[in-house]
């Protein structure tokens, strides 16, 4: 019985934490927010240099050949420090798709470049402000050419490639597109988190190559979403933990009425509620990590469970961290808002909380899993 990371994985996590602390990722994130940029190139280069983009890429493609578990601990640290890099898009979404469904040729040509940073990827799904479904995909793939517009594509500006969910005759297929092509127009879309970039991406007959079985695009996408749900949940618990830590520190240092505000029972209970939500989310994320790394049949359930509780925990912790900070929490100067905004963006990036609750129940109906 071991629902925990190994000593090696914990060591990797410790090193990631030290690195991001030394770089002061939170401060870099603030600088990105205050600029027109949507990520930090230098920090990203260093992350690539550390090999994190190749963690899951097999050694034959110049990656580190490690497991999802190593990715989970890195994700938690990136979440804790709100790092402004295209890691989630490129690694959890794009690279995972390549590894799971890429042909030998596709893997050979792209995976090594993901390791070196020459390729950065993303995943383009949404087209309307409704939840994407098999039936509302209209970006079309025909004779190897892609046309139509995707919205809310994360990191599309820095990304060189995208996996695009496309209508392909009667099927939905996944395909890979070079975003630097002249047939692709990328326009920034303002979003609630000034340190993240979301874009509308128009394809005007751009060349696209199908990845994976062309009839299974939608179910393959669902599999990638399950993978990403677990990885995102680690970013979320990292952010939730950081929010709770900030609130805790402030509650001890801030005095009102002659005593630390953390000695007031309403503050204690608020922080206890945050701790409870975070602990449940963390335990469920560990379970999700196990299911992901062991490719267990329970993955759809475990991923949705991790996702729902991590989304709730991060939203609660970042929201009540602001409340704990009082007026200061509502300023740009304090860091609280970075976590509040990131909590919402992380929750929406893979589909909303109600959507994931629904996925969870569907998985229970299908799998007949019992607690």
């Amino acid at each position: 019985m071991n629902l925990d990371f190994s000593d090696d994985q914990k060591l990797l996590q410790e090193e990631a934490k030290k690195f991001l602390t030394k770089e002061d990722a939170l401060k870099i994130n603030r600088a990105v927010m205050d600029s027109d940029k949507t990520y930090d190139q230098e920090l990203w280069n260093k992350i690539v240099g550390l090999g994190w983009t190749g963690i899951r890429i097999p050694e034959e493609y110049q990656g580190l050949g490690l497991s999802h578990l190593e990715l989970c601990v890195i994700a938690e640290e990136l979440g804790r420090q709100v790092a402004p890099v295209p890691f989630s898009s490129s690694v959890y979404l794009f690279t995972e798709t390549l590894i799971e469904f890429g042909s030998e040729e596709q893997k050979n040509s792209i995976l090594p470049k993901l390791v070196t940073g020459d390729v950065i990827g993303t995943l383009a799904i949404a087209e309307t402000n409704s939840a994407p479904s098999k039936d509302n995909i209209s970006v079309a793939l025909k004779d190897g050419k892609l046309s139509g517009t995707k919205i809310a594509v994360p990191d599309a500006e820095v990304a060189t490639h995208a996996v695009v969910v496309a209508k392909n005759g009667d099927n939905v297929s996944l395909c890979v597109v070079d975003l630097n092509s002249d047939d692709v127009d990328i326009t920034v879309q303002r979003n609630i988190d000034e340190s993240r970039g979301y874009y509308s991406v128009s394809f005007n007959g751009a060349n696209a190559e199908i990845i994976g079985d062309e009839e299974s695009g939608w179910s393959n996408l669902e599999k990638i979403m399950d993978h990403a749900a677990v990885l995102f949940s680690f970013e979320q618990i990292g952010g939730a933990q950081a929010s709770l830590d900030m609130a805790n520190k402030y509650a001890k240092e801030r005095y009102a009425f002659g005593r630390p505000i953390g000695s007031f029972q309403s503050m204690k209970h608020k922080l206890a509620d945050m701790y409870v939500a975070l602990t449940l989310a963390k335990s469920n994320s560990f379970y999700g990590a196990w299911a992901l790394s062991s490719n267990a049949a329970e993955l759809p359930t475990a991923a949705a469970t991790a996702r729902v509780s991590a989304t709730k925990a991060f939203q609660l912790c970042s929201q009540e961290n602001i409340q704990t900070h009082g007026g200061n929490g509502f300023t740009w100067e304090y860091d609280c808002h970075m976590f509040y905004k990131r909590s919402k963006v992380l929750s929406l990036n893979l589909g909303s909380l109600p959507s994931w609750r629904e996925k969870l129940i569907k998985s229970l109906e299908q799998a007949n899993i019992k607690l």
């Binding site: 799904i125 949404a126 939840a131 005095y255 009102a256 002659g258 309403s266 009082g326 740009w332």
Partner: protein, 408 residues
């Protein structure tokens, strides 16, 4: 029970209405009145000044004030009727409310007759704008813990320190101010109240950038600012007594959270689909909207009960204290709902979309739960003042202010 005005009330309402119809434009569905102050938004300032002057000239500016200062001595219910009617028209808001609502009553009660003559009419007319200088970086929920210092120097006081969360400081002519004149006295006893010319040398105003990216509030620094003793309101050491009236006015004034409510959630749900299904056909959405509707209706009817008491000439009960707690939390929940409704694209802020107001609500609500008394402080107030529960033993009781633990 009935929702109709009494004959007198109806007559007064008709009078308000008649004047408004001639002088302003009725709101329509598409009207978006400029509600928020923006730094340097001159057109709002100008528009507000013009409207205030118009009202003043016709006697509508401060109807509850005595005639000599520009009012008509209106009753509380007449004030409400005027406010209800005015709110149906597209008129500029956000410039004069604080001065008229908070500085006005204090000046009315504590200023000398000469000062009242000098300051109140221009305040009502809109010639001079007032702001309020209470909160400090280390004194938020515990306002009385403020540290700005006033030292008496002959006929003057020299003030040093920093205030925060001052709306409109950058365009105000005067401010009301509470400062500490003696840190050797107990916390509430060492405070004194003044009004101050905002153009005085040594006053520096800096906007505070908020979570939203906007700046509706300011920090105000005082560096050896000279205030004549004649601008003291109340006795030396009575600052808390003077301030507390103003604070209660603020807590009432903050009131309802502006922004999306149950109706907007309902409209969105009827219009929008998700996963191929109309949102309004989703029972979870229906249940949430039902609960928000009940809360919104409960607040509205609570106000009507308060008005009923006023209408009878009674003093209203403490029910109003619940408005901000309920509406700010509801706003945060509805904001979240709206963003979740557009799923993967819920973070996109498109000015033309149906969702932007939900995103603004979600951001703003985080501040509204704090402004004008946090959820926690307001619940304490309900518990202690309404339900009569005992106060906690005060850690700062009986101590000289300078000896109170402050963590620094």
């Amino acid at each position: 029970m009935d929702f109709n005005d009494t004959p007198q009330e109806a007559e007064f309402r008709a009078k308000c209405r008649a004047w408004l119809e001639v002088n302003a434009e009725l709101k329509t569905k598409k009207t978006n009145s400029a509600k928020n102050m923006n730094i340097g938004n001159k057109s709002l300032l100008e528009a507000a000044a013009e409207w205030q002057k118009k009202k003043y000239d016709a006697g509508w500016a401060m109807i509850h004030w005595p005639k000599e200062f520009g009012g008509i001595g209106a009753t509380p219910i007449e004030r409400i009727i005027w406010a209800q009617e005015e709110s149906k028209f597209n008129v500029p808001k956000g410039v004069y409310e604080i001065g008229l609502g908070m500085a006005g009553p204090v000046m009315m009660e504590y200023a000398t007759d000469e000062q009242k003559e000098r300051y109140l009419p221009p305040m009502a007319e809109g010639k001079e704008i007032w702001c309020q200088l209470f909160s400090e970086p280390s004194a938020g929920s515990d306002v009385a813990g403020l540290r700005s210092k006033a030292v008496q120097d002959g006929e003057n006081w020299i003030v040093n320190g920093q205030k925060v969360w001052t709306s409109g400081a950058h365009f105000s002519d005067f401010g009301i101010l509470v400062v500490r004149h003696d840190a050797g006295l107990e916390k509430h006893k060492g405070l004194t109240f003044f009004f101050v010319d905002m153009k005085s040398p040594g006053i520096e105003v800096k906007p505070i950038k908020q979570l939203t990216g906007g700046s509706s509030f300011n920090e105000v620094y005082f560096n050896d600012v000279v205030i004549p003793d004649s601008q003291r309101l109340g006795e030396i050491g009575d600052g808390w007594k003077v301030a507390i009236t103003t604070l209660m006015n603020e807590r009432l004034a903050v009131g309802d959270a502006d922004g999306v409510d149950a109706n907007e959630a309902f409209e969105l749900a009827k219009k929008h689909d998700k996963d191929g299904e109309q949102l309004i056909d989703n029972n979870a959405v229906r249940e949430s909207i039902a609960d928000w509707y009940c809360e919104a209706s409960g607040l509205k009817n609570t106000k009507l009960r308060t008005m009923s008491a006023l209408s009878r000439g009674d003093t209203p009960g403490p029910e109003a204290s619940i408005t901000k707690i309920v509406s700010a939390n509801k706003l945060q929940a509805i904001g979240n709902f709206g963003m979740d409704s557009s799923d993967m694209s819920g973070m996109l802020m498109d000015e033309k979309s149906d969702f932007i107001k939900f995103q603004m609500a979600w951001m703003g609500a985080a501040g509204l739960r704090i402004a004008g008394g946090t959820d926690e402080i307001l619940k304490n107030i309900i518990a202690e003042r309404v339900l009569g529960l005992p106060q906690e033993a005060r850690a700062d009781k009986g101590l000289a202010f300078k000896d109170i633990p402050s963590g620094s």
